[in-house]
């Protein structure tokens, strides 16, 4: 059962990701991008990581895809289905994609996963008579643990956290500079 659900989600992600790069109507591509992102959040949910799943939806579906759709609608000639899918940079793109894939695969291969913490969807658990809802301890601790890891000065990710916030701040300032009207 658990495997079936996983393969279903994975299938949706792969199919929609493929359609994102092959469809010729850019608006449809963006919609399938949203579906692919939603599928990824399904994988997070499947791994019992509620927080990441929700944040994935909030940021990638609710904000990033919407901005992409907004950009597509504001550019001309996208209503027709004549967008070229390939251009001269196709080989460079293949090399870049392969490089990214290699790096992420080797990174995932080196990660240490917690053992005995696999998601188990057992029939007995889910088909039992419904109890009054009680908070599962996992999700709450996830958020706390994540927050602690992010700000803990020693052995934590405080530096990366601050680095990313400086990066975002500079992006914000850059966006304002680009969008600002010239005074002349």
């Amino acid at each position: 059962m658990a495997n079936t659900i996983f393969y279903l989600i994975a299938g949706i992600i792969i199919c929609s990701a493929f359609l994102v790069v092959t469809l010729r109507n850019l608006f449809h591509c963006a919609l399938f991008l949203a579906l692919a992102m939603f599928g990824v959040s399904g994988v997070f949910l499947f791994l019992n990581f509620e927080f990441l799943a929700i944040v994935q939806v909030l940021i990638y579906v609710g904000a990033v895809t919407v901005l992409i759709i907004f950009g597509i609608m504001l550019t001309r000639n996208v209503m027709d289905d004549k967008t070229r899918v390939l251009n001269k940079q196709v080989f460079l793109a293949i090399i870049a994609a392969a490089a990214v894939m290699t790096i992420s695969f080797s990174a995932v291969g080196k990660s240490v996963f917690f053992e005995g913490d696999h998601p188990t969807i057992t029939m007995a658990e889910t088909s039992a008579a419904p109890d009054p809802p009680k908070p599962s301890s996992l999700g709450q601790n996830d958020v706390y643990a994540l927050g602690l890891e992010l700000i803990r000065p020693e052995k934590g990710y405080a530096f990366s956290f601050e680095f990313v916030s400086v990066l975002l701040l500079s992006a914000l300032v850059g966006a304002i500079v680009v969008a600002r009207k010239e005074k002349s």
Partner: protein, 348 residues
């Protein structure tokens, strides 16, 4: 009640030898019960909105069908479902068809985590507040798809305006909830109410500014007047749903009302103490559910009253108000709350 039906159905499945599928019974029964309840409630709200607006304009409002015109909405709903479904010829077929469904499902899914009474919610998520915010953000995709696929300039303009508005007002909406989350130390809606019970005050007292920001942004998120520029009837005909009729329009309509219910329910839970009784009436034998609904109706009445109190904002005023007024105030509010927690403790 829900559990009773679910148990019966599970036994029935077991009797025909399909007990392996019993695990899908609970979600389905919950969804059907929720859908029925919400639909009736929305019909009541439409009637209430017409009565409230009539009252504010010194009119009588619907009074022909049923007692006090209560069945007017039922008649309207029947009319909508039997209407001819008029579709533009050059529409973008699949997005046009899917948009109303997303608009409805996204808001309806937000109802799952709302605690109607102590321990009564379909799913008690630990990150309930975040869940509501993120799942309802799907509506903007529905509105953009609707505006785009209708192939109509008014619909497209409405879609644009809506995307800009919803993305902008989501920021103060989330930020207005942050002080409460900081004080209560939880993202679980049930625990937020329990914290208010223990603390002995509702968050609307210390966080009144946050409450105002939340209500304002929620009104904007639901595309309600005075923030209804995405559908502004007098300038855009109907905005993103110009080309929708019949059942598809009904789904957008339902989605909009459910969005109001969800936002108000979050406001009641987070700021007004959820199922807790009024401070001086705690000894009365009134169930928590009744208190919840009473507060819900009060907040919804506020949002309905806004519509007839304020004129519609212009697009640039809307953006200015969101980015230059609401967001700085909510950031300041977070900062001050942080200092208070640091120096005075949480007060409990």
């Amino acid at each position: 009640m829900v559990h009773l039906i679910a148990n019966l159905l599970q036994q029935a499945l077991g009797a025909v030898g399909l007990s392996g599928f019993a695990f899908i019974i609970n979600p389905i029964v919950s969804a059907v019960v929720m859908f029925g309840g919400i639909s009736v409630f929305v019909m009541f709200l439409v009637w209430m909105e017409r009565k409230v607006s009539a009252h504010m304009q010194s009119r009588i409002g619907p009074n022909r069908v049923g007692v006090f015109g209560l069945l007017q909405t039922v008649a309207d709903a029947l009319k909508l479902t039997t209407k001819e479904d008029i579709k533009p010829v050059h529409r973008d077929k699949i997005p046009y068809y899917i948009a109303p469904i997303i608009a409805f499902v996204a808001t309806f899914a937000g109802m799952i985590v709302i605690p109607f009474d102590k321990g009564v919610s379909v799913q008690n998520l630990n990150i309930g507040i975040l869940y509501v915010i993120s799942i309802t953000s799907f509506t903007v995709i529905a509105i953009l798809s609707a505006g785009w696929s209708s192939n109509n300039k008014f619909a497209l303009l409405g879609g644009f305006r809506s995307a800009a508005q919803i993305v902008s007002y989501e920021v103060p909406l989330v930020m207005s909830l942050v002080p409460v989350i900081m004080t209560a130390g939880t993202l679980n809606l049930n625990n937020v109410v329990e914290y208010q019970q223990k603390a002995g005050y509702w968050f609307v007292v210390p966080q009144f500014i946050a409450f105002l920001i939340f209500i304002t942004s929620a009104t904007a998120e639901a595309n309600r007047a005075p923030f209804d520029i995405p559908e502004a009837e007098s300038e855009l005909i109907g905005g993103f749903h110009t080309e929708y009729s019949g059942v598809k329009f009904a789904m957008f309509f339902l989605g909009e009302y459910i969005a109001i219910i969800v936002s108000s329910a979050v406001a009641v839970t987070v700021f007004l103490g959820g199922w807790l009784p009024l401070p001086f009436l705690g000894s009365l034998p009134i169930p928590g559910f009744a208190w919840f609904v009473a507060k819900l109706l009060f907040v919804i009445y506020l949002i309905m009253a806004f519509r007839w109190t304020f004129p519609r904002l212009r697009v640039d005023q809307l953006m200015d108000f969101g980015w230059k007024v609401l967001i700085p105030i909510s950031i300041l509010n977070i900062l001050i709350t942080g200092f208070c927690i640091l120096f005075f403790g949480k007060g409990v």
